[in-house]
Symmetry: C2
Subunit: 705 residues, 2 copies
């Protein structure tokens, strides 16, 4: 399969449309505008005004005139033809670049909004809407989606504006016609897709009233896409399969010394139990760590699935060529010194890609820290993280665009007993990209959840395809995206352009595609653990059990901060709980079983069962303070038993030192109950689960539309 | 010393002032208002209007009329005396409860604001300001301070409004007269202090223009304070000294079994090395754990400084009485079953306090988990947290209003080698309060920083006094306050009342008194560690060193989120750094020294030195990923050396598993370099330091005013 993708850069300088063309375009898409006409002379303007009916607004038409009203280029409430002609003559005298006039029916006052499109260089058309005036100019209160949008999307965009209450009527004003606004947004989204040459489009202001909406001022900039398209070589699951799940491997540059990266890589493959044929290529050795070593790839006795290449940068293309000639179809290139080091490296990388394509070799990297498939005992990575005695397996697949950060995070997780199915550092993504691995893993049931450390997406359409696949297979994707603080370097002229910054576009992409974004690395790990170990909640209603009033307060605060609810329980449920806990406890949610757990630790499990049976509860958080073994172990047994029967997610936080309750902690871990030392981490992990559930449900709903 | 405090509850129902009285009050305080007059009849209103000059506004005066304009009670732009008389007659016909009329000069349009006061039941008068319209009604965008405020406070209040740009002129409007607004706020603050009977005061709207401000509508509710005052027994540092630093102790209820709390308490006192005379009172034993036991307090051979009381609730008052008769002046009451269990317990607690006062015994608790003075080897606490082998000492004093949460957090910190000077669970605070301990610790140089888990402040004036003392001694106070999500139960009628919720008032108190608030428990610990171990930064400009571009991006994002800056370095500094790091590294801030640290780990120290010498850098964050020993230890030595010479705070984050670099980690810890596993924790800890610095500086500045 060969895919063809348009280049995202405009082929020529942006050209603002003249008003007539802009009106014609918007009229085609049924964007409501006031009655209006263009005129060349004051006399023609007066005549046009008479045709439209008074009062009218007169606007100067002049190229390069950004702020018409500042130079007297806008006159409102003109009541007669003479007034129009006089005003037009005054404009002609005051504005040198005047090309003509726009005469508009004067719109009745209403709520001002702004809507628009911009073409994002990576993701294509982005739709924006916001309230006008201070809302966009001071508060930057806008909602974004990738275009096109469904009616449900457009409705949600309006609802998420901070100023949304104004749409429903404010200070006695009638509610505006939301349906008309929604239709307008949907049409703008379709326009963007139908006319990919649109670079920027602003409707500013739109006047919204109870009887409809009207776009009073429009600005459209088109810039034709380059007609040249870049042919891209086929990508298929087989290429990723050979990288992530090779049956046989050759390490090119395998050293006999573990002090060298090539030696460590070979060592880790052996140490972590790679079971298939494993060869070394090292012209200076006949045996590497007990395995046969060959002087070159051509002399290998077989054709391995994967070549792991750890040789100096200048030698890499030759090795890749050798791979191709031998029939090896995939390679992991660890070597750095390519695009990441600047212009010279970019040239070297382009040359490498050219060689690889010519010889039919698919690449992971270059500049990758490696790939790991825990289930297949394959550790094709060289970082110190893999010094770990045994790679714990689990349901989390972890993709990282930073090898250093990704491998250090992996090592910390392993140290805490958190298991993974796969780990891949995508390197420079000269060939295979994050999206390719994502798509592969979305189809692999071993990956119950995919955690991603992301810096940027190189192939948005492929990424969206992968997300769709992940939703279809019910695989949550949790992302930490770095670069949120990036200052956009491009000069943008439109409101929509300046308001829809890069990070906001990523947010819109994630939201539209069911990807859950977290904002710190710990939350990435914690969310992934909770999603891998526990069933999804059906909603955001949390039951809380603690043995301390203070702890209940902390959980309540954090739930409020994360938008989770702690519902009141029905009276009969409260009564059931009251029969279990001491009279000075709190039997309403959040429940305080009191320090009596020291003598009666079984009550936590009993209360857990009641809460998990309760229809108004979607998930349970148990927060323990110092709670030591042996009572802590009894608490753990009760909670685990309830969780197994409950079919709802259960998360535990234990603030006290771990040495106090090793038996309890081990039991939670082996029972796959997520265990966190701090209450806010428990709540944030649950929030990620709630977000996954609502994202998958939301997308399913908008599909049924 | 006997202090007298007014009760904070009003003695009678709130009484709204009539307009004449409200105007008179505001006039006294020079609050600018329009020319206006009250009139009883339509004729008098017309005459008043003539005196004021046209156009005028006519407003109905009627008790209980909250929304005048909804019932035709406001008429604007009246141009003649006849128009005024007609409008007044129409109002009289339409509004049954009409008492008269207010005739006002019609204010020229301008920017609308709202300002007001409310009396908080705990903290007294709170001053509020916000922009009118959607800003308060939809966005609830207000700034709060405890009254009175300085000019600097009032200026800062205006600056922190999200809508602040409007004050500087928006869409061509001139900037408003900020000075007049500041004066108005300062005057309102003074009014609140001078007239403590004011319950609520709203100026809504205030019209602000370039030539001044004017309060167009006013509403004042007064409710006299109760004249009854509560005599409170003396509080002095000696009482706290005997609790936190006793020279001799008796444990009443000391058990011979460590399975019982009274036995554990005695055991912990022995185990952690209490060096003074230590007695047991236990009628059923003559020896407890090798120490002499006495049947009752009266039979003790000496008079200990402190009695630790762990007996059933009903016996406690008798024991306290025995203490008083013996001459013991302080007691820690661990026993629960007092105010925390409800009405019956509140009565028991009142009775206990009465006995204690009568017999001159000061109380910690009841329902406390105990107190610890690490430097004095005094562990008068019974929780499992104190099973720790040895109590690490350090510069952090930790006060907690939740014994369970506080002791579990302590145990986790100790387990991580974080040392404390003191730890105190304040219990029900029947006598000594959080503020008392705070004041004591502010004077104790062993407490370099005070960390507080807070639920509520019982004695605001005392708390503020303690904060002042802490600032004077340069002791930072970092607070986690639970209950942020608390829903205010009181029905409030004024804008100011409903906008200045309890949690917002705490924020204002903390801000006004140099207290730094954090929003999760981990940040409380991390901030305290950084403040105890490192010098304060002089500003918010951060230098960053990492060995990974991905890590640099994460730090940059988190700094942006926390309002810290990563300044560009001067060219000559960049050149110096470039000579140290590899050519493919990044020598501009944030600096990427690349994975070459594996072979050249010394460069991190060299770059650290350069950054810490740089005048545009206030603090340094070093972020390592997998970085293993022995290079990691070399990195640590370089960073520590630079930190010692630099006199600026240095914080390290290491994401990789701890087993990879035990030598490096130990060296950071013994060198008192705060070390965190996640980059966001490093940035948040630095943010707490920056907040302390600016809070102390800000308060110092406003004092100099």
């Amino acid at each position: 399969m060969t895919t063809v993708e348009p280049a995202a850069t405009p082929a020529s300088s942006p050209v603002p449309l003249d008003p007539a063309a802009a009106f014609a375009l918007l009229d085609t898409w049924k964007v409501p505008m006031p009655r209006q006409a263009l005129a060349d002379t004051p006399g023609a303007a007066a005549q046009a005004a008479t045709g439209i009916g008074f009062p009218v607004v007169l606007k100067a038409v002049a190229s390069g005139l950004a702020h018409k009203s500042d130079v007297g280029g806008v006159r409102v409430s003109l009541l007669t033809a003479d007034a129009v002609a006089d005003a037009a003559r005054a404009m002609a005298a005051g504005i040198p670049a005047l090309n003509g006039y726009l005469v508009q029916e004067m719109a009745a006052p209403g709520l001002e909004l702004i809507a628009g499109l911009k073409r994002d260089p990576a993701f294509g058309p982005v739709l924006m809407v916001g309230l006008g005036g201070v809302w966009v100019e001071v508060l930057r209160d806008v909602a974004l989606r990738l275009a096109p949008v469904t009616y449900a999307d457009a409705t949600a965009m309006l609802a998420e504006l901070r100023g949304a209450p104004l749409l429903s009527g404010y200070r006695g004003a009638p509610a505006v016609d939301r349906e008309a606004l929604v239709h307008l947004l949907v049409r703008l989204g379709r326009l963007a897709v139908a006319d990919p040459d649109i670079l920027e489009l602003d409707l500013n202001p739109i006047i919204a009233r109870s009887d409809g909406v009207i776009a009073v001022d429009v600005r459209v900039v088109r810039a034709p896409f380059s007609t040249g398209v870049t042919a891209r070589s086929a990508r298929d699951a087989d290429a990723v399969e050979r990288v992530l799940n090779p049956r046989s491997i050759v390490v090119v540059g395998a050293s006999t010394s573990r002090a060298k990266q090539g030696g460590r890589l070979f060592h880790y493959l052996l140490k972590h139990g790679f079971a298939g044929p494993l060869y070394a290529v090292n012209p200076r050795a006949s045996v590497v760590m007990g395995r046969p070593s060959f002087p070159s790839i051509s002399e290998l006795p077989g054709v391995p699935d994967l070549a792991c290449i750890m040789v100096p940068a200048e030698v890499v293309p030759g090795v890749v060529e050798d791979c191709g000639r031998k029939g090896i179809r995939s390679a992991v290139v660890y070597t750095s010194g390519f695009a990441e080091i600047g212009e010279q490296g970019r040239e070297a990388q382009a040359a490498l890609v050219e060689v690889a394509r010519r010889h039919g070799v698919r690449l992971c990297g270059p500049n990758t820290a490696g790939v790991v498939n825990v289930g297949a005992s394959t550790c094709a990575a060289f970082g110190m993280a893999f010094e770990v005695e045994r790679m714990p397996s689990g349901g989390i697949a972890f993709l990282t665009q930073s090898g250093a950060l990704g491998s250090s995070l992996l090592s910390r997780c392993w140290d805490q007993g958190i298991g993974f199915s796969h780990w891949a550092s995508t390197g420079n993504e000269a060939d295979l990209t994050l999206s390719d691995y994502l798509l592969y893993l979305a189809n692999d049931p071993a990956a119950r959840v995919i955690a991603v450390f992301m810096e940027s997406i190189k192939d948005p359409q492929r990424f969206i395809e992968a997300c769709e696949r992940a939703r279809a297979t019910g695989t949550p994707i949790v992302v930490y995206k770095a670069g949120a603080s990036e200052v956009g370097q491009r000069a943008v002229q439109s409101h929509t352009g300046s308001l829809a910054g890069d990070d906001a576009v990523y947010d819109a992409v994630f939201r539209a595609n069911g990807v859950v974004r977290v904002h710190d690395l710990q939350a990435l790990v914690d969310g992934a653990v909770a999603l891998a170990w526990q069933p999804l909640p059906r909603g955001r209603r949390v039951g809380v059990i603690s043995a301390s009033g203070g702890a209940c307060g902390v959980i309540a605060d954090e739930c409020a901060r994360q938008g989770l609810q702690i519902p009141l329980l029905p009276a009969e449920t409260v009564a059931r709980i009251a029969r279990i806990i001491p009279p000075f406890g709190v039997s309403q949610n959040p429940i305080d079983v009191t320090m009596e757990i020291t003598v009666n630790p079984g009550m936590v499990g009993q209360v857990s069962e009641i809460l998990l049976e309760e229809s108004c509860i979607d998930a349970l958080i148990v927060l323990m303070t110092t709670n030591a073994d042996p009572p802590a172990r009894v608490v753990a047994e009760g909670v685990v038993h309830a969780a197994r029967a409950g079919g709802k997610p259960v998360i535990v936080a234990r603030v006290g030192a771990e040495f106090l309750a090793p038996a309890a902690i081990a039991y939670y871990r082996e029972s796959r109950i997520p265990l966190f030392p701090m209450p806010d981490r428990a709540v944030k992990a649950l929030k990620a689960m709630v977000d996954v559930e609502s994202a998958h449900r939301g997308v399913a709903a908008s599909r049924q539309e």
